[in-house]
């Protein structure tokens, strides 16, 4: 049994900027036991709905439970894969089309663990975290509630 990792807040307000992603990568240059980084970035897509084009997603969450589930997913991934470190961020509030709403960043000594862990983490997040998305469509304050498939 590996030790439990420090709790980190995952939910952040608004989109995740490309600069934040770049800075996160740069912070790992001093960690020389790492040989592989794997990243997943979720971007808001301009889906065509019958009501119009999606212009953004307004995210909300049952925040204390969401943070707890993110923590459990993090611990499960550390147990399952041989990872050096992991960073998770998910947006709350409005994220316009083309912007980033999910950032999963996993590092390991060798590539396989990092690549497989990212896939596992993203699947778990989509399935288990109580985050809700209101897809804004068209121009007249219309919306539809998103549902992960």
């Amino acid at each position: 049994m590996k030790k439990e990792h420090k709790r980190k807040k995952v939910l952040v307000h608004g989109p995740i900027s490309p600069q934040f992603v770049a800075d996160s990568i740069a912070k790992h240059q001093s960690k020389t036991d790492i040989g592989a980084h794997s990243l997943f970035l979720g971007q808001i897509r301009a889906d065509q709905k019958s009501e119009g084009l999606v212009t953004g997603i307004d995210y909300s969450a049952y925040e204390p439970m969401a943070e707890e589930v993110f923590h459990r997913i993090r611990e499960a991934a550390f147990q399952k894969y041989d990872l050096t470190c992991m960073h998770l961020y998910h947006s709350l509030g409005l994220v316009p089309v083309g912007m980033i709403s999910l950032f999963v960043f996993v590092s390991s000594a060798h590539r396989r663990a990092a690549i497989e862990a990212v896939d596992f983490i993203v699947e778990q997040i989509k399935k288990d975290v109580p985050v809700f998305g209101k897809e804004l469509v068209g121009e007249a304050d219309q919306y539809v509630w998103k549902e992960n498939k």
């Binding site: 969450a61 204390p64 439970m65 985050v131 809700f132 509630w145």
Partner: protein, 79 residues
């Protein structure tokens, strides 16, 4: 006994509330609570939602404890 009910996403939107308290005259399990909610808000009949008790997803047969925080959770959309 009194329970605190939280609504999220589509459910908060349809009901027009993000939370309310409910006085219960007897203890209930999740399935009975769900039926009370559907009687109060019949327009939720076609909606799928999960119920969490004190931040844990609860099975339908689970009893609701005293002073519980009940959250009604529509389909998840993270990512």
């Amino acid at each position: 006994m009194q329970i605190q009910i939280l609504y999220f996403g589509l459910l908060a939107d349809r009901i027009g509330l993000s939370s309310e308290t409910m006085d219960l005259t007897r203890s209930l399990n999740v399935s009975e609570f769900r039926q009370i909610l559907l009687n109060k808000y019949p327009f939720l009949g076609g909606e799928k939602f999960k119920i969490a008790i004190n931040q844990q997803l609860a099975a339908e047969e689970m009893d609701i404890p005293l002073q519980a925080e009940i959250a009604c959770l529509p389909p998840f959309a993270g990512g």
